[in-house]
């Protein structure tokens, strides 16, 4: 799997969205969906949801980000994996509302 090119990353970042890689039978993803919805409503954060088991393209997108996602998910391509193309960072798993909010709103500090 090729790592994601800078160009593709910039294209992703321009959309100003957090990408949420999720799995259709993953209990963590199911638990996070209402939290994600609440963040969209209350904070105006946009999430692009990409299901990875049914959609091969989405799976490849996730795999291309393995270098970023794996360390955030304990060494695996865990779900849900939130990816912020702006700062090329990831947050993984079931998290409280505040944690995801603060992470999603954090400024790029690279």
């Amino acid at each position: 799997m090729q790592p994601l090119h800078k160009k593709e990353r910039i294209m992703m970042a321009e959309k100003k969205q957090i990408i949420m890689f999720w799995g259709r039978r993953c209990p963590h993803c199911r638990a996070m969906e209402p939290i994600v919805q609440k963040l969209e409503e209350e904070e105006g954060i946009k999430f692009e949801r990409l299901e990875v088991w049914e959609n091969k393209e989405n799976a490849d997108k996730m795999r291309a980000l393995a270098e970023i996602i794996k360390p955030a998910c304990g060494g695996y391509l865990g779900t849900p994996a939130f990816y912020d193309p702006n700062r090329n960072g990831a947050l993984c798993g079931e998290k409280p509302y505040e944690t995801l909010r603060d992470w999603a709103l954090a400024k790029i500090d690279e």
């Binding site: 993953c26 963590h28 799976a59 795999r63 865990g78």
Partner: protein, 146 residues
């Protein structure tokens, strides 16, 4: 070096899969009784392969349900029924689709050997999740409280 392959105990027909044959059979305790066999033979003995007149007529992986057979002193199943059902559904769908019970909470990398660590139940005690909060990555298994 042959790599991982199947071995059969010539005394009790126990099947072993690995790099080397066990010295002592764990099923019947016979010593030096294993011979190397083909995958086909192993499949027929383990009843996931049925061959008639030279043709494979049935490939069936016996489904135990990934959780039914597992019991341990230090961990137990999560008591959240909905969660268990969702995970088991995922695991069985993956088995149907890929032949392996891949974990529904971690995506496959696409590298076959690497993804062998994602078969449920996995070796979850090496995960940080287990060390930190006492659960497997999916929270299917949780540490028993003392």
């Amino acid at each position: 070096m042959r790599g991982k392959t199947f071995y059969r105990c010539t005394v009790c027909n126990d099947i072993h899969y690995g790099n080397i044959a066990p010295k002592i059979c764990p099923t019947c305790s016979s010593k030096d009784a294993y011979v190397h066999i083909a995958e086909r033979e192993a499949g027929v003995i383990l009843k996931f392969l049925k061959i008639e007149e030279g043709k494979i007529v049935d490939i069936k992986y016996k489904t135990h349900g990934c959780v039914a057979t597992i019991a341990s002193k230090d961990f137990t199943l999560n008591t959240d029924k909905e969660r268990i059902e969702l995970i088991v559904q995922g695991v069985l769908e993956h088995e149907e689709q890929y032949g392996l019970k891949y974990c529904p909470c971690r995506m496959t990398s696409g590298n076959f050997d690497e993804d062998l660590s994602l078969i449920c139940p996995c070796n979850f005690k090496i995960q940080n999740n287990w060390k930190e909060i006492g659960e497997c990555w999916c929270s299917l298994f949780i540490k028993r409280k003392e």
